[in-house]
Symmetry: C2
Subunit: 415 residues, 2 copies
C-alpha cells in the first residue's frame, strides 16, 4: 500500500474515534502540543535550518525564505496561539435547531466534525501547527501535504505533535504528514473521495487553481483578492485618502490589501492629484486610466491586464468613473469576490453598493484590511473563502464542521 493510502486509512479510523472525544479531552491534547513544541524548540530549529540552507542554495527569494524561517520567537508564538485556541468555544455538539413533526418525529440538527481534512500548502512550517491544531479542536483528522522545501521542518513539527498526542486521549494518527511530496501523490490526494471529506489549499493562486481544477474531493477555496476601493462623489477627503493608503500600504502582500481605486469624477477633479501624491509619498507606484493620468503627475498607464491583476505589492491602479453604477459594474467584472469598499456620505449609494456588488465582504467607510478571522472576532482563522458554498469570507472554527440530522421516533413509518 502506498504511504498516502496507508495514512489516509489511519486518518479515517482516527476521525471516527475523534468524533466522540469531549472538549476537555481535545483541549488537553492541544495543551500537550503547545508544551511539546517549546520542549523541542532546539530540535525543530536544527531541522528548519536544513530547509533554509537548501532554499538559499536553490536561490529562493528572501521573502519566501522569511516565510520558511523559524526562530525561538516564532515557535513561542505558535505555542501561544494554541493556548488561545484552547480558550475558544468548541463548535462540535452544538444543537442548531430542533422541532417536532405532526407525526411525532423529533428532529434535531447538531454540529459535528467534517471527518478528514486534507491541507495542501506552501513552504510555511507554521501552517503545519495551525492546520493540525484547528482540525483537532474541531474533532477532525488531518492529512498534511506541505512543500518539499519545508519538509525537514514539517516532519520535525508533525513528529513533535504526534509525540505530544501519545500522552493524551486523542489518537496520534489524527495527524498525518505525507513524506512523499511528489506531484503524482498530490494528485492522488485530490481524488481520494473515499477517505477525504474536504481539501483546503493554502497558498498562492497557482496552487489553489490546480487544486480546484483537479480535485474531485470538495474544496474550500481560499484566497485571491483583487480588492477595490470606490471613492464616491460625497466621500470625505481625508477619510478616503487615509483608507486607501492604509488598505494599500499597511501590508501589501496579503489578499485583503487594496489593488484598485475607483474614483468618482467629481471627487477626482478636486482631490485625485493629492491622493496620487500621498500614495507616491508612501512609495506606491500609481497606475491610471487616461483621465487619471491627466489629473495627477507621475502616473504610469494602466492596461487592461492591470484591472484583473492582484499585485500583492506597492502598486495600485486608479480608474475615474462617472457613477456608483459604473464602479459596481467594473468591480463585478474584474473583482475576485473577496473584499470591496465604498467611501461615501450617501446612504443610498451604500445600499446600492452592498446589494449589487458580488463579494464576501463589503465595507462602508473602512479599510478592506479588516477581512480577517481575528479582526472579525472569530478568534481563529482557517483562511478566507472566496467561494460561495459552505463558508464565505473569513472562516472560523465552524467552517471545519458540518451537521447531522438526528431523528427520534416511536415506530413511525411513511404512508
Amino acid at each position: 500500500m502506498t504511504e498516502l493510502l496507508e495514512k489516509a486509512k489511519k486518518a479515517k479510523q482516527a476521525s471516527a474515534e475523534l468524533a466522540s472525544k469531549t472538549t476537555k479531552q481535545k483541549n488537553e491534547a492541544l495543551a500537550a502540543i503547545s508544551k511539546q513544541l517549546i520542549e523541542e524548540i532546539s530540535f525543530i530549529l536544527v531541522e528548519n535550518k536544513k530547509d533554509v540552507e537548501n532554499a538559499r542554495a536553490k536561490g529562493m527569494t528572501e521573502a519566501l525564505i522569511d516565510r520558511l524561517t523559524l526562530n525561538e520567537k516564532r515557535i513561542q508564538d505558535m505555542a501561544d496561539g494554541i493556548r488561545q485556541l484552547i480558550d475558544l468555544k468548541d463548535p462540535v455538539g452544538e444543537i442548531l435547531d430542533s422541532w417536532e413533526r405532526p407525526n411525532g418525529l423529533q428532529i434535531k440538527t447538531v454540529r459535528v466534525p467534517l471527518g478528514v481534512v486534507g491541507m495542501i500548502y506552501e513552504a510555511r512550517p507554521n501552517v503545519t501547527v495551525d492546520a493540525a491544531t484547528l482540525c483537532l479542536k474541531t474533532g477532525n483528522a488531518v492529512i498534511l501535504r506541505g512543500s518539499s522545501s519545508a519538509q525537514h521542518s514539517n516532519i520535525a513539527i508533525s513528529d513533535c505533535i504526534r509525540r505530544a498526542l501519545e500522552g493524551t486521549e486523542i489518537p496520534a494518527d489524527a495527524v498525518q504528514l505525507l513524506e512523499d511530496t511528489s506531484r503524482e501523490t498530490a494528485q492522488q490526494l485530490f481524488t481520494l473521495t473515499e477517505y477525504l471529506d474536504v481539501l483546503i489549499p493554502r497558498g498562492g493562486k497557482n496552487l489553489i487553481q490546480s487544486v480546484v481544477e483537479q480535485a474531485s474531493v470538495p474544496v474550500l477555496e481560499t484566497g485571491v483578492g483583487n480588492c477595490h476601493i470606490y471613492i464616491d462623489e460625497s466621500a470625505d477627503k481625508e477619510m478616503a485618502i487615509d483608507i486607501v493608503i492604509n488598505a494599500k500600504t499597511q501590508r501589501p502582500s496579503v489578499c485583503n490589501a487594496a489593488e484598485k481605486v475607483l474614483v468618482h469624477e467629481n471627487w477626482a477633479a478636486k482631490y485625485f492629484a493629492e491622493l496620487a501624491k500621498r500614495l507616491q509619498d508612501h512609495e506606491v507606484e500609481v497606475r491610471g486610466d487616461q483621465k487619471a493620468q491627466q489629473l495627477a503627475v507621475g502616473l504610469k498607464p494602466a492596461t487592461e491586464e492591470d484591472w484583473s491583476t492582484e499585485y500583492l505589492d506597492k502598486i495600485i491602479a486608479a480608474k475615474i468613473v462617472s457613477s456608483v453604477e459604473e464602479a459596481i459594474e467594473h468591480i463585478n467584472q474584474y473583482g475576485t469576490k473577496h473584499s470591496e469598499a465604498i467611501i461615501t456620505a450617501d446612504d443610498q449609494n451604500v445600499a446600492k453598493f452592498f446589494n449589487e456588488v458580488d463579494a464576501a465582504a463589503l465595507y462602508h467607510n473602512a479599510s478592506t484590511r479588516f477581512t480577517d478571522g481575528f479582526e472579525f472576532g472569530f478568534g481563529a482563522e482557517i483562511g478566507i473563502s472566496t467561494q460561495k458554498l459552505h463558508a464565505r469570507g473569513p472562516m472560523g472554527l465552524k467552517a471545519l464542521t458540518t451537521t447531522k440530522y438526528l431523528i427520534y421516533g416511536n415506530g413511525q413509518i411513511r404512508n
Copy 2:
C-alpha cells in the same frame, strides 16, 4: 460565441439584476409561470409526445418512459407546486448575525442568492420547472442542461417559463436552457467557473459521479443511498418488522429506501425467520450472510458486492451482527452517508449509534423513508445532499443561498 457561453453571460447579467428584486416581484413572476403552464398545457403535451415516441422507438424502459411522460394532471401538479412555493418564506435578505467590534465596526451577516446555478439532470421534464422556480424564488439565475431524450419537452417548458417572465419584473434571461445537449458542451459547463457558482446534478449514480470527477465549479452532490436499518437486541419485534417493511417496500426506487438490514444475533435467533418471511410475503428478495441463511428459509447468499450495492429495487440483504459496534463499523465501511436507522429500546445504544455513524440523517425507531425536504417540513426540496460541505441531508431553499458580510465603519483603518 458558443450557445453555452452566450447563455452563461446572459444568466450572469440576469443574476445581478435578480439579486435586488423583492420577494413580491419574485412571487409575482412565479404566479405568472404557474398560470402560463396551465395555458400552454396542450402545446407542452404535443411536444412531450414527440419525446415519448422517440424514447419508445429507441427501446427506453417503461420505468424511464413513465418518468419522461407528462399529462394534464402532472402539469397541473407542477402549477400547484409553484403556488405552494410562493407561500414559502424567502430566505434572501435574512440577517443571520450582527455584532460590533471594539474599533466600532458594525458587522452584519446577510443571506444572499448564490448567483448562477447550473442544473444537470436526466429525462424528467418536471425538473425543468422545479429547478427554474426554486432558483427564481431564491434570486438565482439558472442554466438548465437536461437530457436529449426530453429535449422537446424541456424546450417547450422553458419557452413557456420565459414567456411568462416577459410580463413580469424578473428578467427572462434568468432561465437559460441549453439546446446543445452534447457531452462536450456538458464538460465545458462543468468548468465554467467564471460564470457558474454551483453545479447541481440530479439523477443516477453515474451522472453524479461524472460531475463530481470532472467539475471545477463547486458541486452540490445529491443522492446515492445505501441505507441500513440496525435491529438491536432489545428492539420491539413488531416495530422493527413494520419499519423494515416500510423502508424497503413503500417506494423501493428512491434513495432513502432501506437496502440492508443488520440484525443483532439475539434478536435474530428469535425473530429473524419471521422478518424474512414477512419481507418475502411483500415480494422482497431477501439475501443474507451465512448466519442469516441458517436462520430463515428461501434466502439467497449475499456476496461482498451486495454490501455496497444500492438496489433501488425489491431486494434487501441481511447480516447478523453480534453488537451495536459491529453494526456501526459495517455501516461506516459500506454506507453512503445518507440515512441510517437503529431500532432499539436501549438509549445508550442510540447515543452511540447517533454519535459514531457518519451519515446525514440518523433515525431511532423510525423509517429511513422520512429523509425528504417535505417530510422534514422544509416545504420544498432541492435534493438530498450526501456531501458534508454547505448543506447535508434534505436541502430546502436555504441551500440555494450564501452569505455576505456587510461592514459599516466611520473611517476605520488597520494598525
